[in-house]
């Protein structure tokens, strides 16, 4: 009994699909118009989604990680009064004074002569006080990271960026000794490539403990051992960058005895600002593109449903004949619904391919970022199927419920 039911259901399904396919293929021009009108709308949506996502990815790469919410404090080199760079003892002061501080990193940078067995040349050494990953966003690909103890010590160990490791140790850097300014440092780890433009300088550099860097590597301009090239104050959720900047400036002025009437001794950069600007642009562009895509899709849907409706009306005599020779209402509805689903699927697929093609072409022409994956094609197919279902059911139902005689005698 179950087998018989399955067999009958299979016959019905295969017949429905066959008749639907036959209905589409027997009128190629009409079907092409139906599919094409839907494909145009779907392509517009896919193009919009592709651009928005690509633009988003570009924005992600333009500014990444901690810079989204942080203040970078440097000596104000444009001020006539020089008070020196920020110092390590400023860290607890800032932590006390600035609200919502998540962490504070201190960096000390020097360009030094480096030499390995294979090569010699200059390299930037970044001495870090704190966890470098908060700012670099780079994990260790090989070996190990600086331990907590090492980060505060003068141990002669270092991490190499990917390009620096390739440059000085083509055969493998781990465990090798790199001479930095005449000081031999053990390579304990190689970092993975940077994910953001803001941290790509670390790809070509060496990261060492702050104290070691202060002791062994002097920047061009003399710096005291506790002085940092810059400090990065990471602001946690709920914190306001403007408030943090005011609080940090007040704290450092008080520490250096600089009255408010004098120019600030430090500059306070907000590296996340470009990213936020990009994000604002992205949101605006996204809204504009979404609106254009929605209007295009709506226009395509109107065209699609119009062609579908006229196609079904054109076949009303055929439908009436089919009903006269034994087709039930649901069989006619099923056939035409299947036809509209198939045309929707074809329109979605074609629109998806056209949209992806356009995305790639435009991205090549204007050097945009393109993010194309299976998901975007699934969106196109779902749009097509949904359109087919929404636009196909009503006319199929209307025609199939009409009295066949009224149609046949016309």
């Amino acid at each position: 009994m179950t087998r018989l039911r399955f067999s009958t259901a299979w016959v019905r399904l295969s017949d429905t699909l066959r008749f639907a396919l036959w209905g589409l293929l027997s009128r190629p021009v009409r079907s092409a118009t139906v599919v094409g009108s839907l494909a145009a709308g779907v392509a517009a949506v896919v193009l919009a989604v592709g651009i928005i996502r690509g633009y988003g990815a570009a924005a992600e790469r333009a500014a990444y990680g901690v810079y989204a919410r942080s203040l970078v404090i440097r000596e104000n080199v444009y001020s006539l009064d020089r008070y020196g760079p920020p110092i390590l003892s400023d860290i607890p002061r800032l932590q006390d004074a600035v609200e919502f501080v998540d962490t504070i990193l201190a960096w000390r940078m020097a360009r030094v002569a480096a030499r390995s067995d294979e090569l010699s040349g200059e390299v930037d050494v970044f001495g870090v006080y704190g966890d470098h990953r908060i700012e670099t966003g780079m994990e260790v690909a090989e070996g190990r990271d600086l331990s907590y103890e090492e980060a505060g010590s003068a141990n002669r160990v270092c991490l190499l960026g990917e390009e620096a490791a390739e440059r000085f140790f083509p055969g493998g850097a781990l465990g090798e000794s790199l001479s930095l300014g005449g000081i031999s440092c053990e390579v304990i780890g190689v970092l993975e490539p940077s994910q953001a433009r803001t941290s790509d300088r670390f790809d070509r550099a060496v990261i060492a403990p702050f104290t070691a860097a202060a002791r062994y590597f002097q920047p061009t301009e003399y710096m005291a051992p506790d002085e940092a090239s810059w400090m990065t104050v990471v602001i946690g959720p709920g914190g306001d960058l403007h408030d943090a900047r005011v609080a940090a400036d007040r704290t450092l002025r008080r520490a250096r005895g600089v009255p408010m009437s004098r120019p600030t001794p430090y500059s306070y950069d907000d590296p996340g600002a470009p990213r936020r600007a990009v994000e604002r642009e992205r949101a605006l562009l996204g809204a504009l593109l979404s609106a254009i895509a929605a209007v295009s899709m709506l226009a395509a849907l109107i065209g699609y449903s119009g062609v579908l409706m006229s196609s079904i009306n054109e076949r009303s005599r055929e439908i009436a004949t089919r009903m006269a020779i034994g087709a039930r209402t649901r069989q006619i509805v099923r056939q035409f619904f299947a036809e509209s689903l198939l045309s929707g699927l074809a329109g979605g697929g074609l629109g998806g391919l056209v949209g992806i093609g356009l995305c790639i072409t435009l991205a090549r022409i204007w050097d945009w970022e393109v993010v194309i994956d299976g998901q975007i094609f699934l969106i196109a197919l779902a749009l097509g199927l949904g359109s087919g279902a929404v636009c196909g059911l009503a006319p199929a139902w209307r025609v199939s419920t009409a009295m066949p005689w009224h149609v046949l005698r016309q």
Binding site: F19, A324, R328, W405
Partner: protein
């Protein structure tokens, strides 16, 4: 008697805005199985409308009573009407109404597809019916390659493939020459002999000659033809002559 069609007080009124046209008025008739019944009358007399009501392609006015194979047509939903059409009724139209984009055998097999019969079985049965109507060699052709007579025979095969109890024919020979019409009449007679009630709306005297009973429709009113006078009064002189000849020969 066990009537396959039984109608009393059958009415059909069409409304176009405020205008009202009565196509059928107080029609009463009973059709037995295995019979060939013709409906004659001038154009616009209501023959096709009557056949559409009997064929459940249209609904009668609510005051009517119509039973098809024992089922009350008036209480049927559109879905029930479609079910009943599928199970009980075959149609043969004046212009065959074959679906041009399907082959002849696919056209003939189509009613079985709507009954959920698998493709091989329905093709086998369609070929058997095409053999019976003399079109086996034309099975794979497109209907547009067939002559008028062949199209009507293919349409007859399509109408009969699901073995209906009632076959409704709306002027089936109108577009055929005498020879082709005669062939089709012979086939219709065979169908009636096989147990199906064949109802034919026609102007063709050759069809009326082979009928078991004849009804005359005049401006929506139906009368059973007892002699040739009624036909003659309606201007159907050829039919009247044929009918009178049949009566005198004891055919009816």
């Amino acid at each position: 008697m066990n009537w396959v069609i039984h109608a009393t007080n059958l009415n059909r009124t069409f409304r176009h805005g405020h205008e009202q046209t009565t196509a059928l008025c107080d029609v009463a008739l009973s059709i037995p199985p295995a019979s060939m019944t013709v409906f004659v009358g001038a154009s616009g007399s209501g023959k096709s409308t009557l056949l559409a009501l009997i064929g459940l392609l249209d609904r009668p006015d609510t005051t009517s009573q119509l039973r098809i194979a024992g089922r009350c047509a008036l209480t049927m939903s559109s879905h029930d009407m479609a079910e009943a059409r599928s199970e009980l009724i075959g149609f043969l139209f004046q212009d065959a109404k074959l679906i041009e984009r399907m082959s002849v055998v696919e056209n003939v097999a189509l009613p079985l597809a709507y009954r959920g019969i698998d493709r091989k079985t329905r093709e086998r049965r369609a070929l058997a019916w095409l053999e019976r109507v003399g079109l086996a060699s034309r099975a794979r052709l497109s209907p547009c390659k067939l002559s008028g007579g062949e199209r009507q025979r293919a349409a007859l095969a399509r109408a009969m493939i699901a073995e209906p109890k009632i076959l409704i024919c709306d002027e089936p020979t109108a577009a055929l020459d005498e020879g082709r019409a005669s062939e089709l009449n012979g086939l219709l007679r065979d169908v009636a002999s096989g147990g199906t009630a064949v109802l034919i709306a026609t102007h063709d005297p050759a069809v009326i000659e082979r009928a078991d009973q004849a009804y005359l429709l005049d401006r929506g009113r139906l009368a059973q033809v007892q002699g040739g006078d009624a036909l003659r009064d309606c201007g159907l002189r050829n039919m009247a002559a044929v009918w009178s000849h049949r009566q005198s020969a004891g055919g009816v």
